[in-house]
Amino acid sequence: MMTFCFTGIRSFPKLWKSNPYFGLSPGHSYTSVFLKDCFGIRNQQKWFSLKTASPQNTKAMNLLIMRARSGRKGEEGRNKQVPSESHLFAAGAAKKRSQMNPQSKDHPLPPVRNNIIQLPTKPLNSEEWDKLKEDFKGKANFENWIISQMAHYNSSVDVAKSLLAWVAAKNNGIVGYNLLVKYLYLCVFHKQTSEVFDVYEIMKARYKSLESGANTLLIRGLIHSDRWKEALLLLEDIKKVMTPSKKNYNDCIQGALLHQDVNIAWNLYQELLSHDIPMMETLKAFFDFGKDIKDDQYSNKLLDILLYLRNSQLYPGESFAHSIKTWFESVPEEQWKGKFTTIQKSGQCLGCGKNLESIHLSPEEYEFLKGKVMRDVIDGGDQYRKTTPQELKRFQNFVKYCPPFDIVIDGLNVAKMFPKARESQVLLHVVSQLAKQNLRVLVLGRKHMLTSRRARWRKDEMEEVQKQASCFFADNISEDDPFLLYATLHSGNHCKFITKDLMRDHKACLADAKTQRLFFKWQQGHQLAIINKLPGSKLTFQHILSYDTVVQTTGDSWHIPYDEDLVERYSYEVPTKWLCLQRKT
């Protein structure tokens, strides 16, 4: 097994290079992530979860990823880099954009440590350990180092045990806490429950209290056994000093469900909700367990989980989506039918033909957001930071006395779209094309666009822009984006804005997560991004979502967006895949 691991590592750089999509969704290799931050055991387990990937498998994997990336429609060739249909906030879009940038092609390879000492693959006796220690030439303590390495590469429990026996023999039968915890890690990893019990007894006998890392491991080791209730005691122990992590709760809940104690599981879940966002695994466990339970109360709680996902705009992973589907289909007498689909641009579900919820905010939400943007983004407690009070006044008067606009343009962002073309010319081109469609256009810019003597901003072209559109020019040291946001919001729900800026810094100015989600929803529905490749060509925009990407229900149907395992989604993107659930009537 050990040698196999090493070959896995050696082939790793290749894997990394040929496969830029290596980062899997966090839920995928849960155990490794879980154990990593307990003990500083590095993230290499993640590599190991893929160590079976021989070169052929890698290729197959790449193919899979390619297929997943290039979208569900067959007409899109692999050579076409930006599928025109994927919108600005589609999952994976940012990754694609970054890959088009040639500078970021070379990923620095992670340093691959070469071992000086071959880790033993079978238990050694004292003489052999002594010899190994003599061979070791490192700064660190040999025992600590070797057990860390063993934990790193998941050596078998017996090898580790022989190490501990050797240490104990040298040291009057005493083994250090550090070694004991790493050993416990190996026992938990290899699911050696009886060994876990033993170490637990030793720790109880030897130490008055344990720290969070050992407690976490013990919880994880105990929940699969019939002593799982002791894990709850350990959880209480952790609570005395700090709030347990969501992983601790996850383990305890999984243990409770494993032993059919539903009440404890729900209580722990409620406790968890009060101070943290639960892990998707926890929620998935409830759904998985629900298959065998025919209980209305339990079903209602599962629906509550779905509403929780909706309210906090969380998206389940692929396997969780499968669990949800399976649970719905297992509900007796209701005859649910689940399908994995996508949504058409119009907001119609391809599975059932129903329309999804609109992306537009309700009037109350709209007013709320407008107030918040004015207060937090533009004013922010100090009007001088982004603008000046005089300028703000000037802008507010300007907006007040203009009729509502249809399009608000971020002049500088649009003008600098093509590095080689003249700025004023690009801007004029965009403005005139919009003006031809009888749209009321507002161009926001800075004063230097008018006064600059450089050839990039030609006076005659700027005058032409001012003829075709209303313009507002902020001071050169003021920020123009907040004005853009406010002008758009002020003009009403029909008004859109043009910029490629993702506005993340302005979103971050908003005080709470709820307002940020509102802002993001509004942004998805109102931001136009130009995707022209050549200056002077006909104006084309990335399509705007007309529907809201969020868990939603109409009573006899559920639509649940989910994250694919092989697509890396950035925090400001939304999934493109959906689970459509229909009740047969």
Binding site: P123, E127, A169, S194, E195, D198, E201, Y207, S209
Partner: protein, 416 residues
Amino acid sequence: MSVSITFVRPFTRVLVPFTLHRKRRVLYSTILPRYMSSKIPAVSCPNKESTSPPKQLELDGWKVTMKSSVQESVSTVSSTKDEDPVAATRELIEMWRLLGREVPEHISEEELKTIMECASKSSKKKYLKYLYVKEKMKKAKQIKKEIKAAAKEKAKTDQLLETTKEDKQQDFLFLRLWDRNMDIAMGWKGAQAMQFGQPLVFDMAYDNYMKPKELQNTVSQLLESEGWNRRDVDPFHIYFCNLKIDGPFYTELIKRYGEKWNKLLLTATEESHVDLFPKDSIIYLTADSPNVMSTFKHDKIYIVGSFVDKNQQPGISLAKAKRLNLATECLPLDKYLQWDTGTKNLTLDQMMRILLCVKNTGSWEEALRFVPKRKHTGYLEISRYSQELLNRVKKSKTFNSFPKGSLNIRTQKKVT
């Protein structure tokens, strides 16, 4: 080593059952009441035996001694830990230390309280690491001190031996009072600067933007800049403006300077810089400014914000200058340096040294050597080249404008 082990091993076989019988009963009596429901399995696990090699190593023996030996006293606190979260925290930290985490060995009650007040787990860990590093530094310092003291002692005895050997009279011009003389000289220079020096203002109006930690850093930097200024040939006249009496800045400064505070040769005032100086001669220095400082002007009053910003709140000092309608400038870092990493915000003492240098020499290349080397990869050659070009043009012009005779005099002077 290997010999002794082989010698011991036969013994363990004998010892193990013995200790097992003797200590097992004690163990049961201590653990069982706590966990009545739990059943304790046999020491050796049967499914392990089958996978272990035929050679049959003694693998489980250590467990018995581990279980039976006395509890390690982890901390001095008594066993009433169940109610007391402070003691529990102390124990947790102790266990973390056993695990090799970065936590301090000794913790005072006050520090423990700070830990318990930390809102999140990560802030707890951060604070513990800070304490750990602090403790380590203190220890290293202590060891260094001891070594130095020993060396000094040794040198002293050596010297004693030498002086007794050759006890000869020596003639000196001065008594050894250099430090004090230096101080007095600097005091005179400082008094001169108070009368005729160019003002340099530190704006202290940022105390509500900073956390206590940042504020302490700011005060450290202020102390250092004041020190650099004192030692300079031609010091600035330092102003601490907007310094609220009994505000956090004031108390921290008093704490650091102690007695010296009232004897400092600088002006500390609650007034604002706009009240003390004419507005049009003030230049507010901020990295966010769109205007680049080209030359140091000796008739202007430069203002530096005493503000350490670890939270990345951009544009605060620019906002302040905008509010008072002041001119702003930033250092010409990009013009002269190939910037690499880090923010363009420099520490207060670096600012002070750069300003002093540019005031005395007028050369940016000279002054910008105080910018940390890690932040840039080197000086830009182009600017130096253009500078030289400019100088050459200037020189040729002045040469031409000189009458022939005066030029000769100059060259002659150089020769002599």
